[in-house]
Amino acid sequence: MNRTFVKRSFWTKKNAFPIAAFLTLTAVALLAPVYIKILFPLHVLIMIYLYSALGTSWNILSGYAGQISLGQSVFVGVGGYTSSVLFVSYGVNPWLGMIAGALLAAIFGWLIGKPCFRLSGRYFAIATMAVVQIAYIIVTRWEFVGGARGIYFPLKNWGLRFFAFRAKAPYYYIAFGLMLFSFLMVLIIEKSHIGYYLKTIREDEDVAKALGIDVPKYKAIAMAFSTTLAAMGGTFLAQYLLFADPDSLFMLSIPIMLLTVMGGTGSMFGPLIGAGVLIPVQEYARAYWSGSGQALDQILYGLIIVVIVILQPRGLIGIFEGARRRFFRSEAAQTKTPQREGI
């Protein structure tokens, strides 16, 4: 069987519009810090980018590979703490600390994954919940990493070398970069056989095995991608707050999952859309309503989650998927279910 194939060109007219949209919006996003002088909207955007990256890390493991984890925060914590301890106690450049944190988190991911992947569905979810609680208790009692007091970053050295800045703009660009990196990771997965294999594993492990997929290996690959990304997010959060304590790094599993599932699991931009809606709602509602101390903003937040999961089980991306079909009507026309001419 000779295999010939034609490399489809990328720069065709059909792709012109989306590429233009992508470039303009990236430009707008990159110019935003120059024009927006008020810090709070910048903070909200930074949180959107950060939680998109963290959501993508959860999405790779739970959205694509179908292993629902409620303990993603362990890897965020490991990443954040590794870089913080290395930076504060040993003066290691946080960027190296971030890489070390990612490696350590990947190892942890492998250690936790190996036994736990034998568990299915609910049992895996609850096991991961127990794992993050165990990690939280250990870190709170471990003096070397500052225990319950957390780690205080000395506010003397600023600049890229120390990953600490007075102004918000550098954080903004790093967060944006982190989000793009997370999308790059998803692209690598979707553009390679790994994506297909993970989706098969999510649908039915028996079928995956029958088609020659080494299921534990590919689950471990998904875990590696997921933990690396989560750890980098943890390092960014620690450097952004210039403070690392168990509560701020080990209690993020549920928020990360919520906004990703709201956005739409198993799709590249689910986390971004989920974060784009949920984070502003949370931040602004808290800023303007919470003063009364009656948790009005929390009620709104809870209601939104329940309502959206009922109306849009596939996540908000379902709405855009619908819109995309209607919008690109021409494309939709071609793929109406064909009449099968006999063989």
Binding site: F10, K14, N15, P18, I19, A21, F22, L25, T26, A29, I38, L39, F40, P41, H43, V44, L45, M47, I48, I137, T140, R141, A148, R149, G150, Y152, L155, K156, R166, F183, L187, L237, L241, F243, D245, D247, S248, S267, M268, F269, L272, I273, A275, G276, V277, P280, E283, Y284, R286, A287, Y288, S290, G291, S292, G293, A295, F320, R324, F328, E331
Partner: protein, 426 residues
């Protein structure tokens, strides 16, 4: 494939950017008459919400006093209406930290950049104070902390951070001074100590301070028991303290565990001869209201005690608080109220609301003792660490559901009831 990819990215990003524009635009509030805005960040939801809400009420009372003309309360800012030197009134802007460090920081940033506050007050829990004060330090705005007692907050070398409450180190030393004075009066409470503390930031600091001063005053720590905050049951912890049977039991918990501890003592029929509790949970009005008579005989360190009511202004403030919230003033809300007054005193003396001028005014603070609602020697800040130097803790004992000061002796309302009777004959 490419079309789907870029299309979605465009939509997702557009959605994110435009949602925050909409919120951002409608977020600007307009202040009608000219006011000096001061930000206040407190945990108004989550585990310690109730304490935050009471502090907020106390600070609103202080705001009314500063803005209005009140002559029967002898406190800074009472006799003037607002700030004559700045031609404006005080406006407190509250924000909820949800007791989450990251949210406290973003609240501080929003108050500074969007509400343009001239100074910040807050946060009650040490962890949230840490991140909020970092934001203030980065943006160069004075931050006056009124009740977080973790020592680390004032040795970070911050320029803009001030604290007008003694820290755990100071309070713990007070306890040991109290024990030494009691011993001098012939009452010997024994030399062995058991410490049971919540393993949060604050609890860990208290335990460290106890170890330091136990060595200095030569007491022996025979049990050091940290426990997980908000535990489902504390029986095994109390059992461990019971089996250590130390002469003195020291506790450090926020209010939910303080309540559970006291009821567990009663359930396990264990009453040590003396309990020294570290502030926070045991002074919270909720504690006595919930635990009732079981709370008797507990000794706690405090800055405020209702029997200071003989001071006229404290009596009046307490009435205002009861009228507003149904709760009397307690250590936390009183310090929040005092924080507003100290800041107002500085605002009255500052040349302008520029951060440097306000900081200079704060450094020069020297409020005389009689204008302070606590038994302190006044309010002065250490030029280096900006920690209050003239503060003094007092020790109170709960005697038939009432906080009675027992030390220092000059303001003591009664003698220490010792030893604590068994549960059956209470």
């Amino acid at each position: 494939m490419v079309k789907r990819l870029c299309g979605f990215f465009a939509l997702g990003l557009a959605l994110a950017v435009c949602t925050f524009f909409i919120y951002g635009v409608c977020g600007f509030a307009y202040a009608a008459e000219k006011t000096v805005k001061v930000g206040a960040i407190f945990p108004l939801s989550g585990g310690v919400a109730q304490t935050g809400v009471l502090c907020k009420a106390a600070m609103e009372i202080a705001q009314e006093i500063v803005n209005g003309k009140v002559d029967d309360i002898l406190v800074p800012g009472a006799t003037t209406e607002g700030f004559a030197n700045l031609g404006a009134k005080l406006e407190l802007v509250f924000m909820d930290s949800q007791n989450v460090p990251e949210k406290a920081m973003s609240a501080a940033e929003q108050l500074i950049t969007q509400e343009n506050v001239v100074a910040l007050l807050g946060c009650y829990t040490s962890a949230t104070t840490a991140t909020a004060s970092q934001a203030a330090e980065r943006l160069g705005i004075p931050f006056l902390n009124e009740s977080s007692t973790s020592p680390i907050l004032t040795n970070r070398g911050f320029q803009w951070f001030f604290r007008c409450t003694p820290d755990d180190d100071f309070f713990t030393r007070n306890f040991f001074e109290f024990l030494r004075d009691e011993e001098a009066k012939g009452k010997n409470y024994g030399r062995s100590i058991a410490v049971l503390y919540e393993n949060t930031l604050w609890g860990a600091d208290v335990a460290k301070a106890v170890q330091k001063y136990a060595a200095e005053f030569d007491y022996k720590i025979i049990a050091d028991v940290p426990y997980t905050a908000r535990a489902a049951s504390l029986t095994s912890e109390v059992q461990q303290i019971k089996s250590a049977n130390a002469d003195i039991v020291m506790l450090a918990s926020y209010v939910s565990d303080a309540i559970l501890l006291q009821t567990t003592f009663r359930d396990l029929d264990y009453s040590p001869s003396i309990i020294l509790a570290h502030d926070a949970g045991f002074n919270d009005p909720n504690f006595l209201k919930t635990v009732g008579s079981a709370g008797n005989y507990v000794l706690s360190r405090e800055v405020y005690a209702s029997t200071l009511l003989n001071k006229p202004s404290v009596k009046k403030l307490n009435e205002l608080m009861v009228a507003k919230t149904g709760y009397p003033l307690d250590g936390n809300s009183a310090r929040a109220l005092m924080g507003v007054l100290v800041l107002s005193d500085a605002l009255l003396r500052t040349k302008s609301t520029e951060p440097d001028d306000l900081r200079q005014a704060l450094l020069e603070t020297d409020i005389p003792a009689e204008q302070v609602i606590f038994p302190w020697l006044g309010v002065k800040f250490d030029p280096e660490t900006h920690q209050i130097t003239t503060g003094r803790g007092i020790v109170v004992q709960i005697q038939d559901q009432n906080y009675i000061p027992v030390w220092p002796y000059e303001i003591a309302g009664a003698d220490v009831l010792y030893p604590i009777p068994q549960w059956k004959d209470r």
